[in-house]
Protein backbone atom coordinates (compact mmCIF):
# COMPACT_ATOMS: atom_id res chain seq x y z
CA UNK A 1 0.00 0.00 0.00
CA UNK A 2 1.11 3.52 -0.71
CA UNK A 3 -0.68 5.13 2.25
CA UNK A 4 -2.18 3.47 5.31
CA UNK A 5 -4.10 5.25 8.06
CA UNK A 6 -4.44 2.86 11.01
CA UNK A 7 -6.99 3.92 13.65
CA UNK A 8 -5.79 7.52 13.51
CA UNK A 9 -7.30 9.99 15.96
CA UNK A 10 -6.51 13.64 16.36
CA UNK A 11 -7.78 16.36 18.70
CA UNK A 12 -7.02 20.08 18.45
CA UNK A 13 -5.74 21.78 21.62
CA UNK A 14 -8.14 22.80 24.37
CA UNK A 15 -10.62 25.35 23.02
CA UNK A 16 -14.31 26.09 22.87
CA UNK A 17 -14.36 24.19 19.58
CA UNK A 18 -12.79 21.16 21.20
CA UNK A 19 -15.25 21.15 24.09
CA UNK A 20 -18.05 21.04 21.55
CA UNK A 21 -16.42 18.23 19.54
CA UNK A 22 -13.49 16.50 21.28
CA UNK A 23 -11.94 14.82 18.22
CA UNK A 24 -11.33 16.35 14.78
CA UNK A 25 -10.69 12.82 13.55
CA UNK A 26 -11.55 9.63 15.37
CA UNK A 27 -10.37 6.07 14.72
CA UNK A 28 -9.84 6.76 11.01
CA UNK A 29 -8.57 3.84 8.93
CA UNK A 30 -8.19 3.84 5.16
CA UNK A 31 -5.67 3.04 2.45
CA UNK A 32 -4.52 4.38 -0.89
CA UNK A 33 -3.06 1.94 -3.41
CA UNK A 34 -0.42 3.01 -5.95
CA UNK A 35 -2.08 4.56 -9.02
CA UNK A 36 -5.42 5.05 -7.29
CA UNK A 37 -7.44 8.27 -7.13
CA UNK A 38 -9.16 8.60 -3.78
CA UNK A 39 -11.55 11.42 -2.96
CA UNK A 40 -12.27 12.67 0.55
CA UNK A 41 -15.67 14.34 0.84
CA UNK A 42 -17.87 15.52 3.68
CA UNK A 43 -19.50 18.57 5.21
CA UNK A 44 -17.61 21.48 6.79
CA UNK A 45 -15.57 20.51 9.88
CA UNK A 46 -15.80 16.82 9.03
CA UNK A 47 -12.00 16.46 9.24
CA UNK A 48 -11.01 16.59 5.55
CA UNK A 49 -8.24 19.18 5.84
CA UNK A 50 -7.10 17.71 9.19
CA UNK A 51 -6.56 14.42 7.35
CA UNK A 52 -4.20 16.13 4.87
CA UNK A 53 -2.36 17.94 7.64
CA UNK A 54 -1.79 14.63 9.42
CA UNK A 55 -0.60 12.94 6.24
CA UNK A 56 1.89 15.76 5.62
CA UNK A 57 3.00 15.90 9.28
CA UNK A 58 1.84 19.45 9.81
CA UNK A 59 -0.05 17.77 12.67
CA UNK A 60 0.84 14.69 14.72
CA UNK A 61 -1.84 12.10 15.48
CA UNK A 62 -2.93 11.67 19.10
CA UNK A 63 -3.35 7.93 18.49
CA UNK A 64 -2.88 5.44 15.66
CA UNK A 65 -0.28 5.36 12.91
CA UNK A 66 0.15 6.66 9.37
CA UNK A 67 2.41 4.71 7.01
CA UNK A 68 3.81 5.73 3.67
CA UNK A 69 5.15 2.92 1.47
CA UNK A 70 5.27 0.76 4.59
CA UNK A 71 7.27 3.19 6.75
CA UNK A 72 5.73 5.18 9.61
CA UNK A 73 5.75 8.81 8.44
CA UNK A 74 7.03 10.06 11.81
CA UNK A 75 10.32 8.32 10.92
CA UNK A 76 10.68 10.27 7.65
CA UNK A 77 12.53 13.57 7.45
CA UNK A 78 10.70 16.58 5.97
CA UNK A 79 12.64 16.24 2.71
CA UNK A 80 11.96 12.45 2.56
CA UNK A 81 8.28 13.21 2.88
CA UNK A 82 8.39 16.03 0.32
CA UNK A 83 10.01 13.67 -2.22
CA UNK A 84 7.09 11.25 -1.80
CA UNK A 85 4.08 13.53 -1.28
CA UNK A 86 3.39 16.66 -3.35
CA UNK A 87 0.70 18.96 -1.97
CA UNK A 88 -1.44 21.56 -3.72
CA UNK A 89 -2.73 23.54 -0.74
CA UNK A 90 -6.15 25.07 -0.39
CA UNK A 91 -6.68 28.69 -1.35
CA UNK A 92 -5.10 31.09 -3.75
CA UNK A 93 -1.34 31.36 -3.92
CA UNK A 94 0.04 34.10 -1.70
CA UNK A 95 1.34 37.15 -3.56
CA UNK A 96 4.85 36.06 -4.39
CA UNK A 97 7.30 38.00 -6.54
CA UNK A 98 8.36 35.08 -8.74
CA UNK A 99 7.55 33.85 -12.22
CA UNK A 100 6.05 30.47 -13.09
CA UNK A 101 9.40 28.85 -13.86
CA UNK A 102 10.85 29.95 -10.49
CA UNK A 103 7.81 28.58 -8.66
CA UNK A 104 8.00 25.18 -10.36
CA UNK A 105 11.75 24.91 -9.71
CA UNK A 106 11.03 25.38 -6.00
CA UNK A 107 9.41 21.95 -6.14
CA UNK A 108 12.89 20.51 -6.71
CA UNK A 109 14.14 21.62 -3.30
CA UNK A 110 13.64 18.25 -1.54
CA UNK A 111 15.77 16.55 -4.22
CA UNK A 112 18.85 18.63 -3.35
CA UNK A 113 18.32 20.79 -0.27
CA UNK A 114 22.04 21.48 0.03
CA UNK A 115 22.35 22.96 -3.47
CA UNK A 116 22.51 26.74 -3.90
CA UNK A 117 21.23 26.60 -7.49
CA UNK A 118 19.19 23.84 -9.13
CA UNK A 119 20.98 21.17 -11.18
CA UNK A 120 20.37 20.48 -14.91
CA UNK A 121 18.36 17.42 -13.80
CA UNK A 122 16.17 19.72 -11.67
CA UNK A 123 15.58 21.96 -14.69
CA UNK A 124 14.63 19.00 -16.89
CA UNK A 125 12.16 17.76 -14.31
CA UNK A 126 10.62 21.22 -13.82
CA UNK A 127 10.26 21.57 -17.59
CA UNK A 128 8.49 18.19 -17.81
CA UNK A 129 6.13 19.23 -15.00
CA UNK A 130 5.29 22.48 -16.82
CA UNK A 131 4.72 20.57 -20.06
CA UNK A 132 2.39 18.11 -18.31
CA UNK A 133 0.28 20.93 -16.88
CA UNK A 134 0.39 23.14 -19.98
CA UNK A 135 2.22 26.09 -18.39
CA UNK A 136 5.54 25.80 -20.20
CA UNK A 137 4.68 28.78 -22.41
CA UNK A 138 3.99 30.81 -19.27
CA UNK A 139 7.33 29.97 -17.61
CA UNK A 140 8.64 33.54 -17.78
CA UNK A 141 5.41 35.23 -16.70
CA UNK A 142 5.08 36.66 -13.17
CA UNK A 143 2.54 34.73 -11.11
CA UNK A 144 0.35 37.80 -10.56
CA UNK A 145 -0.24 38.04 -14.32
CA UNK A 146 -1.91 34.60 -14.51
CA UNK A 147 -5.60 33.73 -14.52
CA UNK A 148 -6.96 31.59 -11.67
CA UNK A 149 -6.81 28.42 -13.77
CA UNK A 150 -3.27 29.10 -14.99
CA UNK A 151 -2.13 29.80 -11.47
CA UNK A 152 -3.64 26.56 -10.16
CA UNK A 153 -1.91 24.63 -12.97
CA UNK A 154 1.38 26.32 -12.05
CA UNK A 155 0.95 25.21 -8.43
CA UNK A 156 0.16 21.66 -9.59
CA UNK A 157 3.31 21.79 -11.77
CA UNK A 158 5.34 22.74 -8.69
CA UNK A 159 3.95 19.71 -6.84
CA UNK A 160 4.69 17.48 -9.88
CA UNK A 161 8.29 18.74 -9.98
CA UNK A 162 8.70 17.07 -6.59
CA UNK A 163 8.20 13.78 -8.52
CA UNK A 164 5.95 12.50 -5.75
CA UNK A 165 4.34 9.08 -5.54
CA UNK A 166 1.21 10.76 -4.19
CA UNK A 167 -0.31 14.06 -5.26
CA UNK A 168 -2.56 15.61 -2.62
CA UNK A 169 -4.98 18.37 -3.61
CA UNK A 170 -7.03 20.33 -1.08
CA UNK A 171 -10.06 21.94 -2.74
CA UNK A 172 -8.25 22.46 -6.05
CA UNK A 173 -11.26 24.03 -7.80
CA UNK A 174 -12.58 26.16 -4.93
CA UNK A 175 -11.83 29.52 -6.54
CA UNK A 176 -12.16 28.52 -10.19
CA UNK A 177 -14.96 29.10 -12.63
CA UNK A 178 -16.58 26.20 -14.50
CA UNK A 179 -14.14 26.15 -17.40
CA UNK A 180 -11.13 25.91 -15.13
CA UNK A 181 -12.83 23.30 -12.95
CA UNK A 182 -13.22 21.09 -16.02
CA UNK A 183 -9.62 21.83 -16.99
CA UNK A 184 -8.26 20.78 -13.58
CA UNK A 185 -10.40 17.61 -13.55
CA UNK A 186 -9.09 16.63 -17.00
CA UNK A 187 -5.52 17.32 -15.91
CA UNK A 188 -5.83 15.09 -12.83
CA UNK A 189 -7.25 12.23 -14.87
CA UNK A 190 -4.46 12.59 -17.43
CA UNK A 191 -1.74 12.62 -14.78
CA UNK A 192 -3.19 9.49 -13.26
CA UNK A 193 -3.57 7.72 -16.61
CA UNK A 194 -0.21 8.69 -18.13
CA UNK A 195 2.02 8.69 -15.05
CA UNK A 196 0.17 6.19 -12.87
CA UNK A 197 0.27 8.81 -10.15
CA UNK A 198 -1.82 8.21 -7.04
CA UNK A 199 -4.01 11.18 -6.14
CA UNK A 200 -5.76 12.15 -2.92
CA UNK A 201 -8.42 14.73 -3.72
CA UNK A 202 -10.14 16.60 -0.91
CA UNK A 203 -13.14 18.50 -2.18
CA UNK A 204 -16.49 19.99 -1.30
CA UNK A 205 -17.45 19.45 -4.91
CA UNK A 206 -19.17 16.05 -4.89
CA UNK A 207 -19.56 16.00 -8.67
CA UNK A 208 -15.86 16.66 -9.25
CA UNK A 209 -15.01 13.87 -6.80
CA UNK A 210 -17.53 11.51 -8.47
CA UNK A 211 -16.14 12.29 -11.90
CA UNK A 212 -12.44 11.98 -11.12
CA UNK A 213 -12.08 9.45 -8.28
CA UNK A 214 -11.90 5.65 -8.24
CA UNK A 215 -12.97 5.54 -4.62
CA UNK A 216 -14.49 7.96 -2.12
CA UNK A 217 -14.14 8.36 1.63
CA UNK A 218 -17.11 10.17 3.15
CA UNK A 219 -16.33 11.80 6.50
CA UNK A 220 -18.86 13.05 9.02
CA UNK A 221 -17.91 14.51 12.40
CA UNK A 222 -14.36 13.20 12.12
CA UNK A 223 -15.46 9.61 11.49
CA UNK A 224 -15.84 7.45 8.38
CA UNK A 225 -19.46 7.55 7.26
CA UNK A 226 -18.87 5.45 4.13
CA UNK A 227 -16.11 4.34 1.78
CA UNK A 228 -16.18 2.70 -1.63
CA UNK A 229 -16.84 3.42 -5.31
CA UNK A 230 -18.58 6.75 -6.09
CA UNK A 231 -21.77 4.86 -7.06
CA UNK A 232 -21.86 3.31 -3.56
CA UNK A 233 -20.90 6.31 -1.44
CA UNK A 234 -23.00 8.89 -3.27
CA UNK A 235 -26.24 7.42 -2.04
CA UNK A 236 -29.20 9.78 -1.74
CA UNK A 237 -30.31 8.88 1.78
CA UNK A 238 -26.74 8.61 3.13
CA UNK A 239 -25.77 12.02 1.74
CA UNK A 240 -29.03 13.58 2.97
CA UNK A 241 -28.35 12.40 6.52
CA UNK A 242 -24.65 13.44 6.48
CA UNK A 243 -25.17 16.86 4.87
CA UNK A 244 -28.55 17.52 6.51
CA UNK A 245 -30.35 18.57 3.33
CA UNK A 246 -32.45 17.01 0.61
CA UNK A 247 -30.73 16.09 -2.63
CA UNK A 248 -31.11 14.00 -5.77
CA UNK A 249 -28.47 11.69 -7.21
CA UNK A 250 -28.64 11.12 -10.99
CA UNK A 251 -26.24 9.54 -13.44
CA UNK A 252 -24.24 11.50 -15.98
CA UNK A 253 -25.28 10.49 -19.51
CA UNK A 254 -21.76 11.04 -20.79
CA UNK A 255 -19.73 9.18 -18.15
CA UNK A 256 -22.34 7.17 -16.24
CA UNK A 257 -20.91 8.62 -13.02
CA UNK A 258 -23.22 9.92 -10.24
CA UNK A 259 -24.30 13.59 -10.29
CA UNK A 260 -25.52 15.15 -7.05
CA UNK A 261 -28.09 17.96 -7.18
CA UNK A 262 -29.51 19.71 -4.11
CA UNK A 263 -33.28 20.24 -4.12
CA UNK A 264 -32.67 23.61 -2.40
CA UNK A 265 -35.03 22.56 0.42
CA UNK A 266 -33.54 22.23 3.90
Amino acid sequence: MLVEFRSVSFAYPESAERRARPFALSELSFEIAPGEIVGVIGPNSSGKTTLIRLLTRLLEPAAGEIRLEGAPIRQLTRTDLARRVGVVPQGTLAQVPFNVGDLVLMGRYPHGPGRYFESPRDRTSARAAMEATGVLDLADLPLDRLSGGERQRAVIARALAQEPRLLVLDEPTAYLDLRYQVEVAALLRRLNRERGMAILLVSHDLNLAAEVCDRLLLLAGGRTAATGAPEVVLDESLLASVFGCELIVDKSEATRRPIVRPTWRV
Binding site: P89, A94, M106, Y109, P113
Partner: protein
Protein backbone atom coordinates in the same frame (compact mmCIF):
# COMPACT_ATOMS: atom_id res chain seq x y z
CA UNK B 1 25.71 41.59 -12.34
CA UNK B 2 27.64 40.79 -9.17
CA UNK B 3 30.85 41.46 -11.12
CA UNK B 4 29.58 44.85 -12.26
CA UNK B 5 28.58 45.77 -8.69
CA UNK B 6 31.96 44.63 -7.33
CA UNK B 7 33.75 46.73 -9.95
CA UNK B 8 31.55 49.69 -9.01
CA UNK B 9 32.41 49.19 -5.33
CA UNK B 10 36.13 49.20 -6.10
CA UNK B 11 35.71 52.31 -8.24
CA UNK B 12 33.74 54.18 -5.56
CA UNK B 13 36.21 53.07 -2.86
CA UNK B 14 39.14 54.25 -4.98
CA UNK B 15 37.42 57.58 -5.70
CA UNK B 16 36.63 58.06 -1.98
CA UNK B 17 40.38 57.87 -1.25
CA UNK B 18 40.88 61.10 -3.18
CA UNK B 19 38.04 63.05 -1.56
CA UNK B 20 38.09 64.60 1.92
CA UNK B 21 38.21 67.74 4.00
CA UNK B 22 42.05 67.71 4.07
CA UNK B 23 43.27 69.22 0.80
CA UNK B 24 45.68 66.61 -0.53
CA UNK B 25 46.46 66.42 -4.24
CA UNK B 26 45.62 63.23 -6.18
CA UNK B 27 49.36 62.74 -6.83
CA UNK B 28 50.06 62.85 -3.08
CA UNK B 29 47.32 60.28 -2.45
CA UNK B 30 48.82 58.01 -5.14
CA UNK B 31 52.26 58.42 -3.56
CA UNK B 32 50.85 57.46 -0.17
CA UNK B 33 49.09 54.38 -1.58
CA UNK B 34 52.25 53.34 -3.46
CA UNK B 35 54.31 53.72 -0.25
CA UNK B 36 56.36 56.59 -1.63
CA UNK B 37 55.22 59.16 0.98
CA UNK B 38 57.29 59.90 4.10
CA UNK B 39 56.15 57.81 7.11
CA UNK B 40 54.88 60.75 9.17
CA UNK B 41 53.69 62.90 6.26
CA UNK B 42 50.18 64.33 6.29
CA UNK B 43 49.22 62.60 3.02
CA UNK B 44 50.29 59.21 4.32
CA UNK B 45 48.47 59.59 7.66
CA UNK B 46 45.30 60.99 6.05
CA UNK B 47 45.20 58.47 3.18
CA UNK B 48 46.23 55.26 4.92
CA UNK B 49 45.27 55.83 8.56
CA UNK B 50 42.08 57.87 8.16
CA UNK B 51 40.50 57.52 4.72
CA UNK B 52 41.35 53.88 3.95
CA UNK B 53 40.07 52.40 7.26
CA UNK B 54 37.00 54.60 7.00
CA UNK B 55 36.31 53.29 3.49
CA UNK B 56 36.66 49.72 4.78
CA UNK B 57 34.26 50.43 7.67
CA UNK B 58 31.75 52.06 5.30
CA UNK B 59 31.84 49.15 2.85
CA UNK B 60 31.48 46.58 5.64
CA UNK B 61 28.74 48.43 7.51
CA UNK B 62 26.73 49.18 4.36
CA UNK B 63 26.97 45.58 3.17
CA UNK B 64 26.02 44.20 6.58
CA UNK B 65 23.00 46.50 6.96
CA UNK B 66 21.72 45.78 3.45
CA UNK B 67 22.00 41.99 3.98
CA UNK B 68 20.25 42.35 7.36
CA UNK B 69 17.46 44.22 5.54
CA UNK B 70 17.01 41.45 2.95
CA UNK B 71 17.06 38.86 5.73
CA UNK B 72 14.40 40.61 7.84
CA UNK B 73 12.25 41.20 4.74
CA UNK B 74 12.41 37.52 3.79
CA UNK B 75 11.90 36.33 7.36
CA UNK B 76 8.82 38.45 7.97
CA UNK B 77 7.62 38.30 4.33
CA UNK B 78 7.26 42.04 4.71
CA UNK B 79 8.98 44.30 2.17
CA UNK B 80 9.21 47.24 4.56
CA UNK B 81 11.00 45.32 7.32
CA UNK B 82 14.48 46.71 8.01
CA UNK B 83 16.65 46.79 11.16
CA UNK B 84 15.93 50.44 12.02
CA UNK B 85 12.23 50.27 11.07
CA UNK B 86 11.83 47.14 13.20
CA UNK B 87 13.46 48.75 16.22
CA UNK B 88 16.33 46.23 16.12
CA UNK B 89 18.88 49.00 15.60
CA UNK B 90 17.55 50.81 18.69
CA UNK B 91 17.78 47.58 20.69
CA UNK B 92 21.40 47.10 19.60
CA UNK B 93 22.16 50.75 20.36
CA UNK B 94 20.72 50.32 23.85
CA UNK B 95 23.03 47.33 24.32
CA UNK B 96 26.03 49.39 23.21
CA UNK B 97 25.16 52.34 25.47
CA UNK B 98 24.88 49.96 28.41
CA UNK B 99 28.28 48.49 27.42
CA UNK B 100 29.76 51.98 27.13
CA UNK B 101 28.42 52.88 30.55
CA UNK B 102 30.58 50.01 31.85
CA UNK B 103 33.57 51.68 30.19
CA UNK B 104 33.88 49.43 27.13
CA UNK B 105 35.66 51.14 24.20
CA UNK B 106 37.16 50.46 20.78
CA UNK B 107 40.06 48.14 21.73
CA UNK B 108 39.89 44.57 20.43
CA UNK B 109 38.50 42.83 23.52
CA UNK B 110 36.30 45.72 24.56
CA UNK B 111 34.87 45.94 21.01
CA UNK B 112 34.00 42.24 21.24
CA UNK B 113 32.25 42.97 24.54
CA UNK B 114 30.37 45.91 23.02
CA UNK B 115 29.23 43.71 20.12
CA UNK B 116 27.99 41.11 22.60
CA UNK B 117 25.93 43.81 24.36
CA UNK B 118 24.65 45.05 20.97
CA UNK B 119 23.79 41.49 19.91
CA UNK B 120 21.83 40.91 23.12
CA UNK B 121 19.97 44.21 22.61
CA UNK B 122 19.23 43.38 18.95
CA UNK B 123 17.90 39.92 19.84
CA UNK B 124 15.78 41.39 22.62
CA UNK B 125 14.27 44.02 20.31
CA UNK B 126 13.70 41.63 17.38
CA UNK B 127 12.16 39.04 19.71
CA UNK B 128 9.86 41.67 21.23
CA UNK B 129 8.74 42.91 17.79
CA UNK B 130 8.07 39.35 16.65
CA UNK B 131 6.05 38.51 19.76
CA UNK B 132 4.00 41.70 19.56
CA UNK B 133 3.35 41.41 15.82
CA UNK B 134 2.71 37.66 15.73
CA UNK B 135 -0.46 38.00 17.81
CA UNK B 136 -3.29 36.97 15.52
CA UNK B 137 -2.79 35.73 11.99
CA UNK B 138 0.65 36.15 10.43
CA UNK B 139 2.85 39.22 10.35
CA UNK B 140 0.86 41.89 8.55
CA UNK B 141 2.56 45.02 7.25
CA UNK B 142 0.87 47.36 9.68
CA UNK B 143 1.21 45.31 12.88
CA UNK B 144 4.89 44.67 12.17
CA UNK B 145 5.57 48.36 11.53
CA UNK B 146 3.64 49.40 14.61
CA UNK B 147 5.46 46.85 16.73
CA UNK B 148 8.77 48.16 15.33
CA UNK B 149 7.83 51.73 16.18
CA UNK B 150 6.78 50.77 19.73
CA UNK B 151 9.95 48.77 20.40
CA UNK B 152 12.11 51.50 18.81
CA UNK B 153 10.55 54.17 21.05
CA UNK B 154 10.98 51.97 24.10
CA UNK B 155 14.69 51.39 23.50
CA UNK B 156 15.28 55.05 22.54
CA UNK B 157 13.78 56.04 25.89
CA UNK B 158 15.89 53.43 27.65
CA UNK B 159 18.99 54.92 25.94
CA UNK B 160 18.00 58.37 27.21
CA UNK B 161 17.72 56.98 30.74
CA UNK B 162 21.22 55.44 30.57
CA UNK B 163 22.70 58.62 29.04
CA UNK B 164 21.14 60.71 31.81
CA UNK B 165 23.08 58.61 34.30
CA UNK B 166 26.44 58.93 32.44
CA UNK B 167 29.02 61.46 33.64
CA UNK B 168 29.28 64.64 31.60
CA UNK B 169 32.73 63.92 30.07
CA UNK B 170 31.57 60.71 28.41
CA UNK B 171 28.32 62.18 27.13
CA UNK B 172 29.72 63.91 24.03
CA UNK B 173 31.23 60.72 22.61
CA UNK B 174 28.06 58.71 23.08
CA UNK B 175 25.85 61.33 21.43
CA UNK B 176 28.26 61.59 18.47
CA UNK B 177 28.18 57.77 18.17
CA UNK B 178 24.37 57.69 18.41
CA UNK B 179 24.15 59.72 15.18
CA UNK B 180 25.95 56.95 13.30
CA UNK B 181 29.54 57.70 12.42
CA UNK B 182 32.12 55.93 10.30
CA UNK B 183 35.17 57.05 12.24
CA UNK B 184 38.25 54.89 11.55
CA UNK B 185 38.58 52.04 14.03
CA UNK B 186 41.81 50.25 15.07
CA UNK B 187 42.93 47.38 12.77
CA UNK B 188 42.22 44.70 15.40
CA UNK B 189 38.67 45.94 15.97
CA UNK B 190 38.18 46.28 12.19
CA UNK B 191 39.16 42.62 11.80
CA UNK B 192 36.67 41.67 14.48
CA UNK B 193 33.95 43.69 12.73
CA UNK B 194 34.76 41.91 9.45
CA UNK B 195 34.60 38.53 11.21
CA UNK B 196 31.14 39.22 12.69
CA UNK B 197 29.91 40.56 9.34
CA UNK B 198 31.20 37.45 7.50
CA UNK B 199 29.53 35.09 10.01
CA UNK B 200 26.23 37.00 9.78
CA UNK B 201 26.41 37.11 5.98
CA UNK B 202 27.17 33.38 5.80
CA UNK B 203 24.22 32.51 8.03
CA UNK B 204 21.92 34.40 5.66
CA UNK B 205 23.40 33.60 2.24
CA UNK B 206 23.73 29.86 2.92
CA UNK B 207 19.94 29.74 3.41
CA UNK B 208 19.02 32.03 0.51
CA UNK B 209 17.27 29.23 -1.41
CA UNK B 210 15.13 28.32 1.61
CA UNK B 211 14.23 32.01 2.03
CA UNK B 212 12.79 31.94 -1.51
CA UNK B 213 10.57 29.02 -0.49
CA UNK B 214 9.46 30.86 2.65
CA UNK B 215 7.97 33.51 0.33
CA UNK B 216 5.30 30.90 -0.52
CA UNK B 217 4.25 30.83 3.14
CA UNK B 218 5.69 28.93 6.06
CA UNK B 219 3.35 25.97 5.68
CA UNK B 220 4.12 25.51 1.98
CA UNK B 221 7.84 25.75 2.75
CA UNK B 222 7.40 22.96 5.32
CA UNK B 223 5.55 20.84 2.74
CA UNK B 224 8.53 21.30 0.40
CA UNK B 225 10.93 20.02 3.04
CA UNK B 226 12.23 23.24 4.62
CA UNK B 227 12.87 23.08 8.38
CA UNK B 228 11.07 26.38 8.87
CA UNK B 229 11.63 26.80 12.61
CA UNK B 230 15.39 26.23 12.38
CA UNK B 231 15.58 28.47 9.31
CA UNK B 232 13.77 31.33 11.07
CA UNK B 233 16.06 31.06 14.08
CA UNK B 234 19.20 30.99 11.90
CA UNK B 235 18.15 34.03 9.85
CA UNK B 236 17.00 35.85 12.97
CA UNK B 237 20.42 35.30 14.60
CA UNK B 238 22.30 36.19 11.39
CA UNK B 239 20.38 39.43 10.80
CA UNK B 240 20.65 40.42 14.48
CA UNK B 241 24.41 39.76 14.43
CA UNK B 242 24.87 41.88 11.29
CA UNK B 243 22.86 44.74 12.80
CA UNK B 244 24.58 44.45 16.17
CA UNK B 245 28.10 44.49 14.74
CA UNK B 246 27.35 47.62 12.66
CA UNK B 247 25.79 49.40 15.62
CA UNK B 248 28.67 48.43 17.92
CA UNK B 249 31.38 49.66 15.53
CA UNK B 250 29.70 52.65 13.84
CA UNK B 251 26.51 53.54 15.71
CA UNK B 252 22.92 53.24 14.53
CA UNK B 253 22.64 53.93 10.80
CA UNK B 254 19.13 53.71 9.44
CA UNK B 255 17.38 52.77 6.19
CA UNK B 256 20.34 51.18 4.33
CA UNK B 257 18.53 47.83 4.61
CA UNK B 258 15.46 49.33 2.98
CA UNK B 259 16.92 51.45 0.17
CA UNK B 260 19.56 49.03 -1.14
CA UNK B 261 17.49 45.80 -1.36
CA UNK B 262 14.59 47.63 -3.04
CA UNK B 263 16.87 49.25 -5.61
CA UNK B 264 18.51 45.89 -6.33
CA UNK B 265 15.16 44.08 -6.60
CA UNK B 266 14.26 46.44 -9.44
CA UNK B 267 17.45 45.35 -11.24
CA UNK B 268 17.73 41.66 -10.29
CA UNK B 269 14.28 40.46 -9.23
CA UNK B 270 13.46 38.83 -5.92
CA UNK B 271 15.63 35.69 -5.96
CA UNK B 272 17.43 35.85 -2.61
CA UNK B 273 20.32 33.79 -4.00
CA UNK B 274 21.25 36.81 -6.13
CA UNK B 275 19.83 39.51 -3.91
CA UNK B 276 21.77 38.63 -0.74
CA UNK B 277 25.30 38.75 -2.25
CA UNK B 278 24.33 41.75 -4.42
CA UNK B 279 23.08 43.57 -1.30
CA UNK B 280 26.42 42.97 0.42
CA UNK B 281 28.21 44.78 -2.40
CA UNK B 282 25.42 47.30 -3.13
CA UNK B 283 25.15 48.25 0.55
CA UNK B 284 28.88 48.94 0.59
CA UNK B 285 28.59 51.21 -2.44
CA UNK B 286 25.61 53.10 -1.01
CA UNK B 287 27.15 53.77 2.40
CA UNK B 288 30.49 54.74 0.85
CA UNK B 289 28.71 57.30 -1.32
CA UNK B 290 26.65 58.53 1.64
CA UNK B 291 29.78 58.85 3.77
CA UNK B 292 31.67 60.69 1.06
CA UNK B 293 28.78 63.18 0.90
CA UNK B 294 28.72 63.39 4.73
CA UNK B 295 32.47 64.14 4.84
CA UNK B 296 32.41 66.83 2.18
CA UNK B 297 29.04 68.55 1.94
CA UNK B 298 29.70 70.93 4.87
CA UNK B 299 33.55 70.74 4.84
CA UNK B 300 35.60 71.40 6.83
CA UNK B 301 32.91 70.24 9.27
CA UNK B 302 31.39 66.75 8.81
CA UNK B 303 27.88 65.40 8.96
CA UNK B 304 27.16 61.99 10.48
CA UNK B 305 26.53 59.38 7.80
CA UNK B 306 23.40 58.29 9.71
CA UNK B 307 21.94 61.73 9.03
CA UNK B 308 22.46 61.31 5.28
CA UNK B 309 20.95 57.78 5.17
CA UNK B 310 17.95 58.91 7.22
CA UNK B 311 17.43 61.97 5.01
CA UNK B 312 17.38 59.64 1.97
CA UNK B 313 15.60 56.75 3.68
CA UNK B 314 12.65 58.48 5.30
CA UNK B 315 11.24 59.90 2.02
CA UNK B 316 11.99 56.58 0.29
CA UNK B 317 10.04 54.76 2.99
CA UNK B 318 7.08 57.11 2.56
CA UNK B 319 7.27 56.64 -1.22
CA UNK B 320 7.17 52.84 -0.85
CA UNK B 321 4.35 53.04 1.65
CA UNK B 322 2.22 55.30 -0.53
CA UNK B 323 2.83 53.58 -3.85
CA UNK B 324 3.86 49.96 -3.85
CA UNK B 325 2.48 48.67 -0.58
CA UNK B 326 -0.59 50.84 -0.12
CA UNK B 327 -2.84 47.87 -0.85
CA UNK B 328 -1.30 45.89 2.02
CA UNK B 329 -2.10 48.46 4.67
Amino acid sequence: MLGVLSAALLLVAAAALFVGSASISPRAVLNAVAGRAAPESVERVVTLSIRLPRIAVAALAGGALAVAGVAFQALTRNPLAEPSVLGVTSGAAFGVVVGQSFGLGPTFLQAAGLTAFAFAGALLAAGAVYLIAAVGRGLSVQTLLLAGVIVGIFFSSAITVVISLLDFNRLGGVIHWLLGNLTPIPPGALGLFALFAVVGFWLVVSHARELNLMALGEETALLLGVGAERLKLTIFVGAALLTASVVAFTGPIGFVGLIVPHALRMLLGSDNRLLVPASLVGGGIFLLLADTVARNVVAPAELSVGVITSLCGAPFFVYLLRTRYRANL
